[in-house]
């Protein structure tokens, strides 16, 4: 058992609360240029707190060491391939971070006069128009804060539109390969969810969809939420037909654009019948995931849904940008202010860097990387669907699980080879899914090392499956007991009570 990494002080950093000692501080405020006010006098004694019990007290040096040490316990794109399927973990260009922090943008207050916000509004306008060109849609809102928030906005748009037609309807269809946010969204927007089965090609079954809609004599189906390419990395070849079937019954086609990295420059949702879709700026457009956000979830729509978009909307009047609030049919606001503006800045910087052809070339490299991995790993792992792969490939652990090693175990062993695992156990229609999305920003060398690692693990499983089950061996933290965490939740630090305190 290799334990040496544990001995370093940087690997044993305590929690802030355990490093605290009274009187230490990491700040200094300037002298007040006005008289100091006594809080009790100004606020009334009952409104003033005694102290923030347990709050940290550390110096600046300890603060930077603390967080720097913590940071070294993370894997990151900057360290290597991060093939989490569906997450599009691509390189995050640093110039984007730089421009988002320019004072005029970073310190812009959302309520400052529009005459003094033209630069910020111009950025929003440029991004809107670029995203419309990329998606082939007619109108867009940049207000939603992430993909799921975009879904919610999009489904509310569907609802508002159908309502204006006299009937909001009752149901949203969701393929069995869908991400969990899709059904969760439908239910938040007041719809029930009906799952539909994929066919042997890993695609939606058009004839059973047609039957479903035929049988829907009461017009209960409001929309179909489809991810394209699907979470299997497969393009829905009959998507235009699917749109036609829905439209014939007055239902809408919603596209979850999480996988847009497979399509940019090659095909546009607006050209294959999509009525409404969201994008994930933190996937396709390279804004950093930051350990789980912030994101950006713009929602693009066709003309008929435009009157319902959230307010405010940007408008050009007398050579200047202004926010327009006068849309009586709007669903309202989905978020305060204008969305995650700092994320929008980064996404635009990314688009400007690539340009039109550059974006298409990036897409092609993403497809190539996924297909290269598919070819090289096919002899070792089962491929449940042999339809062409777009930007990601989904294997199953069928062969390995016969040896008692499942996708989650295999993933842990991959960590020992220096890589972040692929997405585990999703999509759920694949038994033991191994979902790999390399993205375009990986070199051939990095891909080859990953492929070697996957092959080597497949061989280890043949020889000694038990060994793989205990992985990872080479990390600071060995396998984490998630079951106990959920059974006895400890979700905050509390001071240790000595036994004498505990007694009273």
């Amino acid at each position: 058992m290799i334990r040496k990494v544990r001995q370093h002080i940087s690997q044993n950093e305590a929690l802030l609360f355990e490093e605290t000692s009274p009187g230490k501080a990491g700040y200094q405020l300037p002298e007040l240029d006005v008289p100091s006010v006594d809080p009790q006098a100004a606020l009334g004694a009952p409104n003033v707190r005694v102290e923030i019990e347990g709050f940290p007290e550390v110096s600046e040096v300890e603060a930077i060491r603390h967080f720097t040490r913590l940071s070294t316990w993370n894997y990151a794109i900057d360290l290597g391939l991060y093939p989490l399927g569906s997450c599009t973990m691509k390189y995050n260009p640093r110039v984007n971070e730089f421009v988002a922090r320019l004072d005029g943008l970073a310190w812009a207050h959302p309520y400052q006069p529009e005459s003094l916000s033209q630069g910020a509004l111009e950025i929003i306008a440029e991004l809107e128009s670029a995203l419309l060109e990329i998606t082939g849609m007619d109108a867009i809102t940049l207000q939603p804060a992430a993909g799921a928030h975009g879904e919610f906005t999009g489904i509310l748009l569907v609802r508002a539109y159908l309502e204006s037609q006299g009937n909001p309807r009752k149901k949203i269809l969701v393929p069995d390969s869908a991400h969990g946010t899709n059904p969760a969204t439908a239910s938040m927007a007041g719809y029930s969810v009906q799952n539909i089965k994929s066919n042997a090609k890993g695609m939606m079954d058009v004839s059973s969809l047609a039957r479903l809609l035929d049988e829907d004599t009461n017009n209960e189906i409001a929309a179909l939420m489809v991810t394209n390419p699907s979470t299997l990395g497969i393009f829905e070849e009959d998507i235009a037909k699917v749109a036609e079937i829905l439209h014939a019954k007055g239902a809408m086609l919603y596209m979850d654009g999480a996988n847009m990295n497979a399509l940019v420059g090659l095909t546009r949702p607006g050209d294959f019948g999509v009525d409404v879709m969201h994008l994930n700026l933190h996937k396709t457009f390279s804004t950093p995931h930051g350990g789980g956000g912030p994101g950006g979830g713009p929602v693009a729509v066709k003309k008929h849904l435009e009157p319902f978009l959230p307010i405010p909307r940007l408008k050009r009047v007398n050579e200047a940008w202004t926010f327009d609030y006068k849309f009586p049919q709007s669903i309202g606001r989905v978020r305060a202010f204008y969305g995650n503006f700092g994320v929008l800045v980064r996404a635009l910087a990314y688009i400007l860097a690539h340009g039109g052809n550059g974006l298409k070339n990036a897409t092609i490299d993403a497809l190539m990387n996924a297909n290269y991995i598919r070819r090289k790993l096919e002899p070792y792992y089962d491929l449940p669907y042999d339809s062409p792969s777009m930007h990601e490939v989904v294997f199953s652990d069928d062969r390995q699980s016969k040896q008692g090693v499942r996708t989650g175990d295999l993933a842990k062993r991959l960590i020992d080879y220096g890589f972040h695992p692929y997405t585990v156990s999703f999509p759920t229609i694949v038994h033991g899914a191994i979902m790999i999305e390399p993205t375009e920003t990986e070199s051939k060398r990095e891909l080859d090392l990953f492929i070697d690692a996957m092959i080597s693990i497949a061989k280890e499983i043949e020889k000694d499956p038990k060994f793989v089950l205990q992985a990872p061996y080479l990390t600071r933290t060995s396998r984490v007991d998630e079951v106990t965490a959920a059974r006895r939740p400890i979700v905050r630090w509390r001071p240790q009570r000595t036994s004498s305190q505990a007694a009273d």
């Binding site: 990491g26 239910s187 927007a189 984490v480």
Partner: protein, 436 residues
Amino acid sequence: MRYLPKSDSERKEMLAACGIETAEELYAHLPAEARLNRPLDLAPGISEYEIIDFFKARAAETADGYASFLGAGVYRHYRPVLIDTIVSRGEFLTSYTPYQAEIAQGTLTAIFEFQTMICQLTGMDVANASMYDGSTAVPEAAMMALRVTGRNRVLVSRVVHPEYRQVLTTYAKHQGMPVAEFGYDAETGQIDLKDLERKLDDDTAAVIIQSPNFFGVIENVQAAADLAHRRGALLIFVFAEAVSLGILEPPRDADIVAGELQSFAISPSFGGPYAGIIASKEKFLRQLPGRLVGETLDSNGNRAFCLTLSTREQHIRREKATSNICTNQALIALMATVFMTVYGKAGLRELATQNLSKAHYLSSKVKPRFTGPFFNEFVTTAKSAPEEINQTLLARKIIGGLPLGTHYPELADSLLLCATEMTRRADMDTLAEALK
């Protein structure tokens, strides 16, 4: 292209390995009718230098260099350099949601510390890993109250941030969640307890108040809680100015707290990204929306952290999840965590006291309209149209307060003024002069 790490000969080699000759064959299976048969109509790619030039030009077309008295949910607080130093580390910046705990202990430990500090700050028992922002945390808290109480209706104070209320309305509309508003006292600027009492009924799941409220006035949380609890409703406490919690009594009487952390060293950035939070009493833990980090052990018996109670969440529960939220605002929550660490127990109190002092200096020259106690913001009535006063101030490179007429027609003659530790005395004097 500098972001694509492959030479053309490597590409050829890889295509050959895939058994194809040209890149086009990678997408030859796309149906013809779906293909884009022209280049995207976007300008050619540009260099890093040109990108910086473009954004510098845009940044110059904004209010850079102006003094400002705007608050109203977005506050100008000093950002210690350490914040960006830490969040710019690739290990934090370029990692995903910490699904693989063994190689994400950095993010997980920091979130655990964040959850703890939010509890300490708010007086609640548990807190989640973050929400999108304050405005979306409010409807999520309301939906949580519906689940807890089995009731349907929520009552929201008119002095909760107007945009938060608008977001609440959007969310509520399709959930069968009627939202009613209750008023404020025209003298104190605090909620009208009588109006609240009148409007409470046995189907009310929650009463939502904000403190300091949108007028900057500190509410009587206990009185609101007593009224709500007497009718079996929960009290949801909302905060938009987190620095106030450095000095104000935490909302111990509330059941759920929904807040915005922008004040904790998060750039105003024209409205986002910020970070929201939801915290609550322990007994509502399983009704919390969003990610939660919990403590456990690794197989060697060392303390470790992981995402937990995920059976509340969309990827497990799908349509029965407590919320659809997936990606949240982790990196922004980390900014707030570093901020809370740098200032710490004494610093946050001193910072809050400085804010209090600046705003009270301003109020010694500009009369507040309401009599209720305030933190770093207050409403004042102007002698002429607020918009005109603001216009004259702009000539002196000062952005005045927020005119209130849009959201409160009865206050069309009033402005909301904010002073933080960054507000200079000289600018306050100039403002006071203009408001005379």
